[in-house]
Symmetry: C2
């Protein structure tokens, strides 16, 4: 039985916290759907990840700050970027209506997970 689905199905309209679902996981990388309904990173919090991430906005809009850049990037539907390992970043804002649907690929070093 193949794993399959519609990324725009079952998107919650209101969430207390971001929702993350793993769509595919094989040694080396994981594919996730992330839904945000207005969430942002906590004030002063920067995300520092040990491995690279590739992320695209598939619905909605978001603001993303990346360490070393002069201001947040505005991401609209279709915009993607690659975050190298340990490049600190934070989500400044996400759209709630419609919810923001992200697709993320997280590499896993060592070929595990």
């Amino acid at each position: 039985m193949l794993k399959s689905g519609d990324i725009f199905a079952d998107v919650p309209e209101r969430l207390a916290d971001e929702e993350t679902k793993i769509l595919a996981a094989n040694p080396g990388a994981v594919v996730e759907r992330i839904v945000s309904t207005g969430q942002a990173s906590p004030p002063g919090f920067w995300c520092d990840q040990p491995s690279p991430e590739w992320v695209i906005v598939l619905q909605g809009e978001a603001g993303l700050s990346i360490e070393g850049e002069p201001g947040p990037r505005s991401l609209k539907t279709g915009d993607w970027l690659e975050l190298p390992a340990h490049r600190r970043h934070r989500v400044e804002w996400t759209s709630a209506d419609p919810p923001t649907v992200w697709l993320a690929v997280h590499w896993r070093s060592g070929g595990a997970n």
Copy 2:
């Protein structure tokens, strides 16, 4: 300089062959954009890949046959599926107007490319 872009930018309207662009490549997996404008797999050709692939249609529509299934799957925008290694498959048809935009994650065994 971060790598970034808009996946719906610079989508060619007519192509002699499918167009594949690597958006991100790190040990373990590669992220690609594939654009089809009506292309299909050659008659009788089945694709047999040594490692898993996760694929989603982000624009347009396509028909995908998977060995062992009774008929082709119709994929519309947002539909995704995971193809295990060596699960044979073929593209039966793709929409030309609008062009079909696929996002594919190809795992690479051994953590190398």
